[in-house]
Subunit: 400 residues, 2 copies
């Protein structure tokens, strides 16, 4: 059992922390079915989300790049962790029964021999091992060490397992959805309270700080992602840190946050006007709300991401010409701020119950000024259910 | 100029945000000297810290794994960024004069062709391009895309450039040290105030929350890293998230934080006793403070990391047998929570002025109970200067 699993939280509205062993057994079973279909003898996983998906090991320690962490998922039987010595106690407290360690840091052989030994023992000299090598993945170990691993295991063929991992992680369990929903609810509360927390003349830096504190006070664990900005009639980009510039009457402020509850993200934004809503921005706001509503209605099982995109883009095109540079109108989310799939014209992923998505229509207001609106939903058998409290029908105004 | 560079902050104690162009020109010049010595025609960089080091581009957007970001640093001339379309405006606002974009997301060709074109144009068909492939590095692009890139560029030899990058990033400029020092000062204030903020009966989750809020209120941008725990007479590991367990009389609480100011981390911890200091823990605390002091005295230019380790371990060995499982007694820090070098018996890195290090002696108190103490310093020509306010000489007690 995950050491942080708490089946009886203090408050009925707060989901349990961690997951019961049955959750991991179900994930493993689905993985092994997919691995059999893909002809894989096992998986080798190195990244935080994949490692946590199968073990429940939640730690901020992944921020330190010094030590790799490895998980082997065999075609039958339980996963085996091969981890640096500092992780021994934590991994032994998870549901895993086989945890192997090497003394670390040891840059001359940072887990490579330990991992090679485990691979040989579990899979024999010849095997086909899947690793995520496709879109939105990376290898979290030094490239030189990966080459050394391959050289030690001439009979092991490494194959791309992105499809296997993606098919699992795109579909969230009810317990996963609860955690995302909790983050969405808390941040919805904060966005609703925000107009009373802000006044014109505050810098973006100060506004960001107050927003983060308000999220923490209400039960968010970490505000890992907060971007946005303010500017006259609109903002210039949506990925910048806050500036020291004071917000003024006539500005539009956007905050877009990925806040975390028990390792799961929400990801949505809200727009605010200071003093008054400029006419053009007010119209854009309504169009973006209509676009998101069209996306929500279209987000039924068996619809595709491309169809969602078309539904939203159609609403925007009727009122605003041109694109926005964002490149998509939403994406999956869960253990990561953004996950597969992408809501683009070319992504033909078919929606299934349990998928959690953002709807994120955007448009260019004028040269260098844009507006983005974002909501989060879960796909159910009956259609989409919003996890965020819907944005107000007209842009909230902060006195200035 | 970095768009967030603010040469005139409101308060004399708060360093300017961002860096002036001269900082990046100096970094580039040092890089090109090191590249010439290593026989490299250029560098290909994909990771956040390296990208930011040469461009100044600071963004939380790196949390999204969808899009890679590429930087090419030629042996002469300015760096060239090859970035997804969403980053165009941000990169054009940096000191770079050559920013190339591809429309993204586009998983079928997520920047691979754009990057290959730029490599060919800048370096010709045959060149030797350095990438970080060694300890503590990784490649932030899909492995499959890296293979496709190599296949498109048969005349380009990719070579390990970890040594080049490490030699640059280990030595901090005065402006970098100022930012780390600012984070250290704010968090020192928070640790000092903490005994008045906590009472027995609070859960670890609540304690972590209050700590993060206090950091934000005093001017920290993000508390990206906070680990620790509490337990009777000591804690069991140092990388776990907080538990719902209430802290009780007789517990030792440790908080270890990597808090960020303008993209630069501090990384240190403090220990607290609830109700009273158990005798064994009190002794361990004094030994760890003595060990850190021995490390501080040893941290002079031309000393090695191994010598620092020996100085600290010697103090501990005289009083406590056995190791701790942590594996090292400190490390570099800066744009990342942990950076090269490591304070281990095998790391013979020679200290130089401008290096910022943690001193992190640890010991096992009893089976499964440990204690860690950590301070941060900068190496100067005259010896080490502490960036953290030293921990109290005896463990602070919180009434219980």
């Amino acid at each position: 059992m995950s050491e942080n699993y708490d089946p009886a939280p203090a408050d009925d509205h707060v989901p349990a922390r961690g997951f019961p062993p049955a959750e991991f057994e179900a994930r493993l079973s689905r993985a092994q079915t997919a691995m059999a279909a893909a002809g894989l003898d096992g998986l080798l996983l190195t990244t935080e989300a994949e490692f946590r998906y199968f073990t429940g090991f939640l730690s901020r320690f992944w921020l330190s790049p010094t030590r790799p962490w490895f998980l082997l998922v065999p075609a039958s039987g339980n996963p085996v962790a091969v981890v640096p010595s500092i992780g021994r106690a934590c991994l032994q407290a998870t549901w895993l029964d086989d945890v192997r360690c090497w003394e670390s840091p040891q840059p001359q052989d940072e887990g490579v021999s330990a991992l090679a030994d485990a691979l040989r023992e579990l899979f024999g000299p010849n095997a086909r091992i899947g690793m995520p090598e496709g879109p939105e993945t990376h290898l979290r170990m030094p490239l030189g060490d990966y080459r050394r691993l391959q050289a030690q295991l001439p009979g092991i063929a490494f194959a791309d397992a992105t499809g296997v991992i993606k098919s699992l992680r795109m579909i969230k369990s009810p317990a996963e959805v609860e955690k995302i929903a909790r983050a969405c609810t808390i941040v919805s509360d904060v966005f609703e309270a925000l107009p009373e927390m802000l006044v014109a003349g505050m810098s973006e830096i100060e506004i960001f700080r107050r927003f983060k504190i308000a999220c923490l006070e209400r039960g968010i664990d970490d505000v890992d992602y907060l971007v946005g900005g303010a500017g006259p009639g609109g903002y210039t980009d949506i990925i910048s840190p806050p500036s020291p510039r004071p917000v003024r009457a006539g500005d539009i402020l956007m905050l877009d946050t990925g806040a975390v509850f028990d390792g799961y993200f929400c990801d949505f934004d809200r727009n605010f006007a200071f003093g008054h809503v400029p006419e053009h921005a007010g119209k854009a706001y309504r169009v973006l709300l209509d676009a998101a509503e069209a996306g929500l209605q279209a987000a039924r099982p068996d619809a595709t991401c491309a169809e969602l995109h078309r539904a939203m883009q159609g609403v925007i095109d009727a009122e605003f010409a041109g694109g926005s540079g964002v490149g998509r109108m939403g994406h999956g989310l869960g253990m990561q701020l953004t996950e597969w799939p992408s809501i683009t014209p070319d992504d033909h992923t078919v929606l299934q119950p349990g998928m959690v998505l953002t709807l994120e229509p955007s448009l260019d207001l004028a040269a260098g000024r844009m507006m983005v609106h974002e909501e989060n939903l879960v796909v159910t058998a009956d259609g989409a259910k919003l996890l965020t409290r819907p944005a107000p029908q007209s842009m909230p105004v902060i006195p200035a």
